[in-house]
């Protein structure tokens, strides 16, 4: 289908974008930001989204900080218009290389060429790879609104069902990843490669010199309305054990036992039990991949 009609406004700076959002809202409009548009446009063509006005961040690609990828002091900073494909092809240090490796799961190349990291986070799909990676690597989203800039930690970002802590009059300017994880992996299952995952799992292992875990992260998508960390599984990592198949199985069991996935059988077998089984398999796979990563 064709999207419903809307008025179109180009933002020529972040304050300009914030001003447009504020002014359009005050005029009774229902404005929405568009950057890559790879989530918003399908929703508009299905008319699941019918914003009366779009504010285009596209011209801000000319602002170097908006497309910059930089690392310093254990923090990776991505400008708000950095695309998935830019991350996929970036020379990242081992602590953040999991981000580049995970990009193959994000849609397909033409989607990754255009879609943005920040856009994916603000869209807040519970299975979006970037939402899991944000929780895995302690991301912070820097958003600018009428009252100035604020920093939102990933742990407070996702409210579930596509709702996030970024307000409608705020513009994300930067995403920072503050927890390097050289031993980390993301994996997922979808019926067709490139589709939204039914379940996806990301694991980061904190390993000591002997290859034993001293902590880590276990993050899941597709098992709750928002992406979640699984404390019960992270406790297994914190207890300390060699990063081997037995540990992978123990972490996977803990994760599968802890979750309460939606029982929305779609007639094709995607029940709560199915998601739990996928969780067990994917967490174990992610653990094994993480222990092998960056060695």
């Amino acid at each position: 289908m064709k999207p419903a009609a809307f008025t179109y406004h180009r933002a020529h700076g972040v304050p300009d974008a914030v001003g447009l959002l504020t002014d359009l809202t005050a005029a009774g409009e229902d404005p929405k930001l568009i950057a890559g548009g790879q989530s918003l446009m399908p929703m508009m063509t299905f008319r699941l989204a019918r914003p009366s006005a779009l504010v285009d961040l596209g011209p801000l690609r000319r602002v170097p900080s908006m497309t910059a990828i930089s690392e310093s002091g254990g923090t990776l900073s991505l400008g708000a218009l950095v695309t998935h494909h830019a991350v996929e092809t970036a020379a990242l240090s081992p602590g953040f290389a999991v981000l580049a490796r995970a990009m193959r799961w994000v849609g397909h190349l033409p989607i990754r060429s255009r879609g943005t990291v920040a856009g994916s986070l603000v869209h807040g799909d519970a299975t979006a790879e970037w939402c899991l990676l944000a929780l895995l690597l302690d991301a912070e989203v820097v958003a600018e609104g009428p009252a100035g800039r604020r920093t939102i930690p990933a742990g407070e970002l996702f409210h579930g069902f596509y709702a996030t802590a970024v307000d409608p009059d705020e513009v994300v300017v930067e995403v920072r990843f503050t927890r390097p994880a050289p031993h980390a992996a993301l994996t997922e299952f979808a019926r067709r490669h490139g589709d939204f995952a039914i379940v996806d799992a990301a694991v980061a292992l904190d390993l000591d010199e002997d290859g034993r875990t001293s902590g880590g992260r276990v993050v899941l998508g597709g098992v709750a309305p928002a992406p979640v960390r699984v404390p019960e599984a992270e406790e297994v990592l914190a207890a300390g054990a060699p990063a081997d198949d037995a540990l992978a199985a123990a972490v996977a069991d803990a994760a599968a036992g802890a979750i309460d996935p939606p029982d929305t059988d779609d007639g094709a077998g995607v029940s709560a039990a199915y998601r739990r089984r996928l969780t067990r398999t994917l967490v174990a796979d992610a653990c094994r991949q993480a222990s092998g990563a960056a060695r």
Binding site: F6, T7, P110, I111
Partner: protein, 161 residues
């Protein structure tokens, strides 16, 4: 609320100015306003890849770009591939040689996707080509012959260097 915008963009090396409604997709502007009907529209929501074009050298779904977002950009469509004499490009000839098309509806999208991939990865492995081409749908060929054609073109271009 049609809110018409004057849009300038370069398509296949030629500059164009068109007046468009903001909701007009790049695919529709190419087909309806510029009459470049080689770009095909399949699903209109970013799944099938039939409308793939190169936007500033990157393969994109033309149905997932509003034309107004392409202001000042360079677009390449399937019409740009043929030589000045109208003959097939090496990639198009490889599609013919390897039986990489049957009905041909998806072919323009595959051609532009492949050109985008080979421009960035001229030495792409067969596995990388398969992964990249998985972006687009074809209902006739079963894909193997498309992968064959793209890999053959990549090899030939590498050897010609």
């Amino acid at each position: 609320m049609t809110d018409p915008h004057l849009l300038s963009l370069t398509v296949n090396g030629a500059e164009h100015e068109v007046v468009v409604e903001p909701r007009r997709t790049l695919a529709d502007v190419l087909r309806h306003d510029l009459r470049l009907t080689g770009t095909h529209v399949g699903c209109e929501h970013g799944v099938c890849g039939a409308c793939t074009v190169l936007l500033d050298d990157a393969p994109v779904r033309a149905c997932l770009v509003f034309a107004v977002q392409a202001e000042g950009s360079e677009v390449r469509t399937v019409e740009s591939l043929a030589g000045p004499d109208g003959g097939l490009s090496d990639l198009q000839q490889a599609f013919t040689d390897h039986h990489a098309l049957q009905c041909g509806f998806c072919t323009p999208g595959f051609l532009l996707l492949a050109e985008g991939v080979l421009a960035e990865q001229p030495d792409a492995s067969r596995e990388e080509v398969r992964e990249a081409l998985s972006a687009n749908l074809c209902r006739c060929t079963g894909y193997q012959t498309i992968v064959d054609a793209v890999c053959a073109t990549a090899r030939a271009r590498q050897e010609a260097r």
